[in-house]
């Protein structure tokens, strides 16, 4: 799957209004029905008329609400496929959110409330209060649905153990903190507690979930670690936990890092021997000028450090800024790719993707961005004589 300039999606898409309302049992409007019909036609979703009929009905039953969610997955999948991506998923339409979905299917957690991520974006944060374990594999139904519907190869995103720990409160491992205790002792206890928490999540929650996906036939698992650099002193712990998730398993395993000072990951990432691809967001830090020289591509200087990792892993090159409606032109995407190809000495280890999930964009904007990404790859291929 990891062939030169392969394009793939990365994480979540916004959920359509009809899907949100149906799941919540809220009334649907004519606009919601029109939206489902228009996107069904635009994306070429087989049998979308069934969804339109469902949405026209009143008081959806529980099974009908489940069916609407399944249609949402088919729509998400087809959005990526019709945009021209090589490797796809459904934009995580079945999941509430990457953190909350995993935690809701784990034993040992209680939700505490909403906490700001940035601007007006919030996430529901839980506390670990008891032994961590898997209630039941929580991506299996989703994978089985998509396996049947997909026309392109699938890559399954799974939230990583370090991120799950970093985004949770700890009311179990650390115990009562005494601020009167000498700082070195407090820090030592904190590190030990954190390590135990993260590795418990890796061994007892994430790994068994991955094993269940592999048993169903999944071949590419992406372990998302957007919190990877939260505490620079813990990057080695993130790497250790990653390997605890995938060691001795048979599949393609990659990770996703974003919105970080990527310098912090080096040289520790050299220890993450089980990682075959690093999917990393760069466009957020880049200029919008065309060009393949250093001055035009400030967001991509760091790719050199990924090039030099042992084991020669691939780099998933983020070329779309997911926090803006600005649509990157194919030429801008092309130049970002060509810059990275030049640094890597060839395209063999470069794949192309958005910086992160496009969930904060409308489908119109996300679709336009992805289409231009694919067009940019085509331009890059031409420029490279591929």
């Amino acid at each position: 799957m990891l062939t030169p300039l392969t394009t793939h999606e990365l994480g979540s898409l916004a959920k359509p209004g009809w899907r949100v309302k149906a799941a919540a049992g809220r009334p649907l409007t004519d606009g919601d029905v029109d939206d489902a019909r228009e996107w069904g036609e635009r994306l070429g979703v087989d049998g979308y008329e069934r969804l339109v009929d469902l949405l026209r009905g009143s008081d959806l039953s529980r099974s009908e609400r489940v069916e609407v969610k399944e249609w949402s997955s088919r729509y998400g999948l087809r959005l990526f496929e019709s945009a021209g991506l090589d490797v796809v998923f459904d934009g995580e339409q079945q999941r509430t959110e990457m953190y909350a979905w995993a935690i809701a299917h784990a034993n040992g957690f209680e939700f505490r409330g909403s906490v700001r991520s940035f601007d007006n974006k919030y996430y529901s944060k839980a506390a670990v209060v008891g032994p961590v374990s898997l209630k039941a594999p929580f991506h299996n139904d989703e994978y089985k649905l998509l396996r049947e519907a997909a026309r392109r190869p699938l890559k399954v995103p799974v939230t990583g153990p370090y991120t799950l720990a970093a985004w949770s409160f700890d009311e179990r491992y650390r115990g009562q903190v005494d601020l009167g205790e000498p700082l070195p002792d407090r820090r030592r206890r904190y590190r030990a507690a954190r390590r135990e928490f993260v590795l418990d999540l890796a061994r007892d929650l994430v790994r068994p979930n991955i094993e269940a996906l592999l048993a169903l036939g999944a071949t590419w698992i992406q372990i998302d670690e957007p919190a990877g650099s939260t505490e620079p002193s813990e990057i080695a712990l993130m790497a250790e936990a990653y390997d605890a998730c995938v060691s001795a398993l048979d599949g393609t395993f990659s990770t996703h890092l974003c919105f970080s000072d990527y310098d912090l990951f080096f040289p520790t990432l050299e220890q993450m021997t089980g990682c075959q691809q690093y999917a990393v967001g760069f466009a957020n830090y880049d200029s919008r000028d065309l060009g393949v020289h250093d001055d035009a591509r400030p967001g991509y200087h760091i790719v050199r450090r990924f090039r030099d990792l042992p084991g020669r892993p691939a780099l998933g090159l983020g070329v779309l800024d997911i926090h803006t409606d600005f649509t990157e032109s194919p030429e801008l995407v092309r130049d970002r790719i060509l810059y990275a190809v030049e640094v890597f000495g060839g395209p063999d280890r470069i794949q192309v993707m958005p910086d992160c999930g496009l969930r904060t964009r409308t489908w119109d904007v996300a679709y336009r961005k992805l289409q231009n990404m694919v067009a940019g790859v085509s331009l890059a291929r031409t420029a490279l004589g591929l």
């Binding site: 505490r112 601007d119 700890d170 601020l179 000072d261 957020n284 926090h323």
Partner: protein, 312 residues
Amino acid sequence: MTEIGCYLHGLYPRSEALVAATRDVDRGRQPPRVVEARRDVDRAEIVALQRDAGLTLVSSGFLSWADLFRPLVDACPGLATGPLVRWFDNNTFVRTPVVRGPFELDLDLFAAERTDVGLLPGPYTFSRMATDAGDREALMAALARDLLRPAAEEFVRRGAQLVHLQEPWVTAHGIDDESWPAFVAALRVIGDGLSAQLVVHTYFGDAGPLIGRLSQLPVSAVGVDLTETDLAALAGPWQTGLLLGCLDGRSSPIEDVDLTVALAAKILEATRPPLLLLSSSCDLDLLPRPLADRKVHVLGAATRQLREAIPC
């Protein structure tokens, strides 16, 4: 004699109802007035909470602020919002301020709320977070003179009795010896002659190595994050006021009032500052609202008990 007080600093968490209202408005499901109305309710609740808890000064909570820098960036044509960057070692992100030209604060645009406690980024942190090709010390001086001082005055004009400067960079990433004079000068520019107390609060890092210098800053009080600082480093006597960040703004367990009082009393005994303020280690915005509310009650109760236990 030590004057003892307490207040909330920084951004306060929004209620679930305000989060939901904001989401609805952002997605076009509700008109903007829905958020404004809910924000008024939240603000009234937060003010009542602080009064009920017995806090010395009452903060508005800054519920409309997207992050610490945005109100200044939005009110200054010489600044623009840049890429999202991690807010120190937290799962919270801010947009980098990008320097585009000279600074001039448009008071009509600056969202300085009516509050006892004004809130601003410290000059050192601001100058290090900002994207600018120029000299950092010159940037710090310009920010202090042309942006932070006018903003502090605006808070005072609107009734603030204290202006609180957030300075996490000083302790999270450190400050060079060569930068120290420029930092002190910037604080003087902001605080000299200001008709309010000025507090500079360091957090997300160990203040211990800097205590000697911090305790001599030209401000009403210096804040330290006790979750990251060794008590032993706080030896006195202190000539300036001391703000104890004694409630963990990043951790969900609720502090015990008696233990908090004992901790504060021990530090008071060791430092004997003219002013001792109790507060949280960092903004409570990193907690869900119900947990923050409970910590506010602890803050008020601990301050009350400390006053009763220590004859000041």
